[in-house]
Amino acid sequence: MSDQAIVRINDLRKSFGDLEVLKGVDLEVTKGEVVVILGPSGSGKSTLLRCVNRLEEPTGGEVWFEDTLVNDKKTDINKVRERIGMVFQSFNLFPHLTAKGNVMLAQQKVLKRDKATAAEVAVRQLTRVGLADKIDYYPAQLSGGQQQRVAIARALAMDPHVMLFDEATSALDPELVRGVLDVMRSLAKAGMTMMVVTHEMGFARDVADRVVFMDEGVIVEQGTPSEVFDNPKSERTKDFLGHIA
């Protein structure tokens, strides 16, 4: 299992000032695996995700991506990030560029693809997320769900080895959530390695290979969806699932 690990996290710690958000997290994600991270707000799940591509600088422990120690000062973090796609709660599309422009930019500037190739990939990825008819629209002309799908296409265009979803549907109106979840579902089916922070229990149950429950900066419990949802061992997990249901 560990020879196929794409992301390996050992005793990860992160503090913001006096506040310790991650108190020693160990987690391994293998190729093709979909890991859904659940937990109450403030449990450190977003911070965990953001440590994987070093948007947050870990205070201690190790984060490995394939053969690279991510939190090593000598590591060229931009090289690592090329291969780690991230989707944010607030979409973060570039408002001055069209959907196509959003998907093309990093391909050209980071991967140095020529314009024609980047455009071709952009159209393919936007079609994949169901937005073939919106390629020339600006973010402001798109609904939240469509914007988030553009953001997914933007990340996919880089041919990532793993995708991080940080509450990708939390900012969406309920009726727009499904379209985004469908895209994530089909990605999982296509074999993409995914780390997903979400509050969508249905998605976790259907799509996750493994569910990780976090609380107060540690992993409390993990297992298959049925293990965690149907037979939670920890009181805290039971409590959390009870509140959600």
């Binding site: 931009n78 990030r81 607030s90 979409f91 973060n92 001055h96 930019l105």
Partner: protein, 292 residues
């Protein structure tokens, strides 16, 4: 009733004498390009300086931040008129300046519109250095008004910080600050009038000469008209740009600050100058917040 009519006629004769105005027109008109030229060149020269100062002010190291903060505070905290007096007479006393004039006597020849280059040089120098300090605040506030998620998204795609700045942050900043920047140009253009006090033959000086020789104020009205010829259309354009900006923004998912409308060109404007873009995390400063 007669008394009223009489005072109106007097006012008309003093300020709006048609004959005097038509005599003043070609004189002021000949100085119009001087004012515009000095305004435009100084403005363009101030942009790189303003950008440099803005980035310095946002630097993490205090050693970089401090000189920029000091410069901006000093320039914005002293009257432009005083700065003009210092530069116009002070610069000529400097050895390197005297050497320059000796070595390149052509600088003293009429350059454009009958004015020698050293005059322009000093005008550009003082106005662009002054304006750069104001622009630094415009640029800094503009860059910081872009939601943090934009930089994060760009970096998460593997872009370096300079790449993210160049292709994501700055293009959005330019759109946002364009109205404020144009207001800055309007202010700068009006400020060229202060150069009259040090003998630069721009519109205000030429009209003052005419007034002095005719004991009639009408030439000032002609000059005013020429200033308005530039400032009113530009001011309207600023308003239109703001409307367009307000319309087109709203994408990107992250919420943006409620307003960044540049103030109208009026008395309040000068006070509100450079405060047109909401800043985050900076408290109002008695110097930087004050009128020019």
């Amino acid at each position: 009733m007669d008394a009223l009519l009489e005072s109106l006629t007097t006012i008309g004769r003093i300020f709006f004498d048609v004959e005097k105005m038509s005599q003043a027109l070609p004189i002021v008109l000949s100085a119009f390009p001087v004012s515009v030229f000095i305004g435009v060149v100084s403005f363009v020269l101030a942009i790189p300086g303003g950008l440099l100062l803005a980035f310095m002010k946002m630097a993490r190291t205090r050693v970089v931040r401090w000189p920029a903060t000091f410069y901006v505070d000093v320039v914005r905290g002293t009257p432009l008129f005083l700065q003009i007096l210092i530069v116009y007479f002070g610069l000529t006393l400097l050895p390197f300046y005297q050497t320059l004039i000796r070595e390149v006597p052509q600088l003293k020849q009429p350059f454009l519109f009958g004015i020698d280059f050293t005059i322009y040089l000093r005008a550009f120098f003082v106005l662009s250095f002054n304006s750069a300090a104001y622009m630094a605040e415009i640029f800094r506030a503009g860059i910081q008004s872009i939601p943090k998620g934009q930089m994060e998204a760009a970096r998460s795609l593997g872009m370096s910080t300079p790449q993210a700045m160049a292709f994501v942050i700055i293009p959005q900043t330019v759109r946002r600050i364009l109205p404020t920047l144009m207001s800055e140009f309007i202010l700068l253009f009006k400020d060229t009038a202060l150069l009259a006090a040090v003998g630069v033959a721009e519109m205000t000086l030429r009209s003052r000469e005419f007034v002095a020789s005719t004991f009639n104020q009408s030439a000032y009205m002609v000059a005013a008209a020429f200033y308005l010829l530039v400032t009113i259309p530009l001011g309207r354009l600023v308003g239109r740009l703001e409307d367009k900006l307000a319309e087109s923004e709203g994408g990107g998912g992250a919420k943006r600050p409620p307003t960044l409308l540049a103030p109208e060109i009026d008395a309040e404007h000068v006070v509100a100058h450079s405060e047109g873009i909401p800043t985050t995390g900076s408290s109002p400063n008695p110097i930087t917040g004050g009128p020019r």
